[in-house]
């Protein structure tokens, strides 16, 4: 079994003398979700467009599963679903027809095509608009259809460029859930986003880009701990059930825990002091409390700090 992979080798795109992306080297391999961060104009979309054959590199190569996208786009993208920026769909086609077209192009067999399309439509919660002409959809609805088009063939690799752009707050939350669901299915997802909360929640690794250059690429925890302020660190814990006040009190009394904030009944932000050891100890204690701990990760504000520092340094 070959692991899914996305690779950029010295990938460069210049418009006249201005380089939107300069010499990007990045290799993503295996089933995971990688967040792609960077300020407006950093070159994220430019990189993703070269990975999907939408624009030609000035220099360097874009490879999907080891196949050069420039040389053999059809083979390279055969296992890849992508959503780049905010595509428009042929206005006179209905939602269902547009997705049937994509499914047919991508080789979903005719016997299961309709089911696959229905499933994709259900996944983005567009059942109500199934026969609506795409020209009549709102921006957010279109983006949902676009997301459905990217996932309709159940691809192993997904390239998503700000998938929740144009969506209302609930839509954003829904897309976050959809992408989270996509992750379970053993695939490699590369997703650009400005929503650090979304990235912390979904992604395992993060690549940060600015001015067309890669500033960092690492596991989320390592990236945030390497740049943690002193010995203090913010983490986020998720629980399978609501936390009672007793449980909160117990957690607060754990050594090294200097602050607590219950953001949702099942989500807790902790401030920890004492570096990795403190974190290790606290985590073991919380898990031992039997209050339903299911996840523990650096909080999004930790990522935000890291991000801001890296981006500021690069200016």
């Amino acid at each position: 079994m070959t692991d899914p992979s996305i690779q950029a080798v010295e990938l460069t795109k210049c418009y006249n003398s201005f380089c939107a992306l300069s010499g990007l080297n990045l290799r993503l391999e295996g089933a995971k979700c990688v967040g792609f961060l960077g300020p407006n104009g950093a070159g994220k979309t430019t990189a993703l467009k070269m990975l999907t054959g939408m624009i030609r590199p000035t220099r360097g190569k874009a490879l999907i599963n080891g196949i050069d996208v420039q040389e053999n786009k059809k083979a390279a993208l055969s296992t890849c679903g992508a959503l780049i920026e905010t595509p428009e769909i042929y206005p006179a086609l209905s939602v269902k027809e547009a997705l049937m077209m994509v499914a047919e192009i991508r080789g979903v067999p005719s016997t299961v095509r309709k089911d696959a399309v229905m499933k994709a439509i259900a996944e983005v919660k567009m059942e109500e608009w199934i026969d609506t002409k795409c020209g009549k959809l709102s921006k957010g609805m279109k983006q949902r259809v676009n997301l459905a088009a990217a996932l309709v063939s159940d691809p192993i690799i997904m390239l998503l460029d700000e998938p929740s752009s144009g969506l209302d707050p609930r839509g954003m939350a829904e897309v976050r859930e959809i992408v989270k669901g996509l992750k379970k299915k053993d695939r490699l997802i590369f997703m650009s986003s400005h929503l650090l909360g979304e990235v912390t929640e979904i992604c395992d690794e993060v690549a940060i880009l600015d001015h067309g250059k890669l500033l960092a690429y690492d596991k989320l925890e390592r990236l945030t701990s390497a740049l943690a302020v002193g010995n203090t660190k913010e983490c986020e814990a998720s629980f399978s059930r609501d936390l009672g006040s007793d449980a909160l009190k117990e957690i607060a009394s754990i050594e090294g825990v200097t602050g607590l904030e219950l953001v949702e009944p099942k989500r807790l932000i902790l401030r920890l002091e004492g570096g990795n050891e403190a974190q290790e100890r606290a985590l073991a204690k919380i898990a031992g409390l039997g209050v339903g701990l299911i996840a523990f990760r650096p909080s999004s504000s930790a990522l935000e700090e890291t991000y801001l520092r890296l981006v500021k340094d690069s200016r």
Binding site: K74, A75, L77, T79, I84, T86, A92, E97, P155, L159
Partner: protein, 287 residues
């Protein structure tokens, strides 16, 4: 061999593979056509065609012009000469004028092009769809023409009309070749439509007049000159290639493309423009 969960390259999670380009072309043409024939454009063009046909029918029925009713060939020649090439040109502009530029400007290309499909397949699929949509419009005109012909002369359709039809289809192909080429060049959909409209409705015929009358040169490089075989083949006898008329001290020369030259000119426009347009589309950035 692998166990469960084994995947091969070129196949997705369920192990299926991507269809061949011919089958993808068919898919794209099918949905593109579906989109075309539901747009306002299609109905506007159909209405224009039906109005032209209706007017012709009414005028011929009311005034019974001798040119139309003296012989079957005369009938088809006069009727055809009134509108056929205009309908072909309008269809070409309507369906081809922004076929490619629209994909860039309206961002519909972003939806299609990220799929595992060659750009040449998209280009050809769109071309086929535009061709079929234009043929549908043209068929309406042909149907009314033949119905009128049958009414006045029975089903005795002269063989020249069959030839003229074949040349019309070739002309349509070459027009779409040219309009696709221009739509691949320009970023703006409306500009590419405008340029092709100006070319076919004025520029080509103006150049032809200038070249043949003033420069006294055969306009062999003009698509509209080649397309004259569509009307000429309905004339009996077929017009001579070079006609010179002496008026006092001045000689006027008219050129009539022989059938083979006309066919060659149209075919060359189709092949060259379609190929150039494809090369440009393959290289253009979606940005």
């Amino acid at each position: 061999m692998g166990g469960p969960g084994e995947r091969t390259r070129g196949a997705d999670a369920t192990g299926r593979s991507i269809p061949g380009s011919a089958s993808q072309l068919k898919t794209i043409a099918k949905y593109e056509l579906m989109n075309y024939i539901r747009t306002r454009r299609f109905y506007v063009l159909l209405t224009i065609t039906l109005i032209m046909s209706g007017l012709l029918t009414a005028v011929v029925a009311l005034y019974q012009p001798a040119g139309f009713l003296s012989s079957p060939l005369g009938f088809y020649s006069s009727w055809w000469g009134m509108a056929a090439t205009y309908i072909l040109i309008l269809s070409g502009i309507f369906f081809g004028g922004d076929a490619i530029s629209g994909e860039f400007q309206n961002k519909t290309g972003y939806f299609l092009v990220v799929n595992p499909v060659k750009r040449s397949t998209i280009y050809a699929g769109k071309w086929v769809a535009a061709f079929i949509a234009s043929l549908a419009i043209f068929s309406a005109f042909v149907a009314v023409t033949v119905a009128n012909g049958a009414y006045y002369f029975g089903l005795d359709v002269p063989y020249q009309f069959g030839l003229s039809l074949a040349f019309s289809v070739l002309y349509l192909m070459s027009i779409l070749g040219v309009t696709f080429f221009f739509s691949a060049i320009f970023k703006s959909a409306s500009i590419s439509i405008l340029v092709t409209a100006i070319l076919f409705l004025f520029a080509f015929s103006l150049t032809q007049t200038l070249v043949s009358n003033l420069a006294q040169m055969e306009p062999w490089f003009l698509i509209t000159y080649g397309a004259e075989v569509i009307g000429n083949v309905l004339k009996d006898p077929y017009p001579t290639h070079i006609v010179t008329v002496q008026l006092g001290r001045v000689t006027f020369t008219t050129y009539n493309a022989p059938i083979l030259n006309g066919v060659a000119i149209m075919a060359a426009y189709f092949v060259i423009c379609a190929a150039l347009g494809l090369v440009i589309f393959e290289r253009r950035d979606f940005s």
